[in-house]
Amino acid sequence: MAANKEWLKLKSGSFEESFSEKDWNDFAKAVGAQSSDLPTFSIRLFWNCEKALLDQMGLSLKQLLHGGQKFEYLEKLKPGTTYQVQSRITHVFEKKGKLELMTFVVVQSELQKDSQIFIRSEKTIIVRGES
């Protein structure tokens, strides 16, 4: 599908997210981990916010593949704490794949509390098919 530069104007609004000790442990168990503080756990906390952006873009989840994921770990997360999450689209571009022209969307998100950033995320999404 064609890259839509209008997507660059979209913003998610602010979402509140928290998690319990059980959520942490269940996430770790789902990947067979011994440690509960998995570095990928925050993907769960970014989900609702990033999904809201995708909904604004008119995209269906099944059109999407995960192309890349960066995290910066600035502060440790704690169960029972409420964090604020915000996301925005920073890049939209096209690349020719083996079979089709693919659209790439880069979503940057921040998880913070009291204006202190705990985790920065940069997710590259590959969009396939028509919206």
């Binding site: 789902a30 990947v31 440690s35 998995l38 989840l61 099944k62 994921q69």
Partner: protein, 121 residues
Amino acid sequence: MTSKKVTVVTLESLKRYAQVSHDSNPIHQDEKAAKEMGLPGVIAHGMWIAGLIGEEAVQYQKAFLPHHRMISSETRFQGMAFLGDEIWIELEVKEKEKIELKALNQKKELLCSAFYLFSKA
């Protein structure tokens, strides 16, 4: 470099991961939805595989850098894992505070690769 088999992709494990991560993309649970999108079948969540890699990074840190903290990770997803595929993980120490991890299937095809950086706490 070390290499080990860590798991096999099952529908049960992907459904459990979808539940705990909130990632409800149907291509990771529903064969019909996956085929509608031109995929041969259900594929594993990239972040499920990234979680397997992340656990290896945590264990490396605990063993070799106990007074450090993880500061960043960068993962690229380069291939798809299907039901029944084995997941192998390779770990290579690039520098003391920088490791590269790769997830491969049983055919040694690359699924994803990641760099993890650590610094003194």
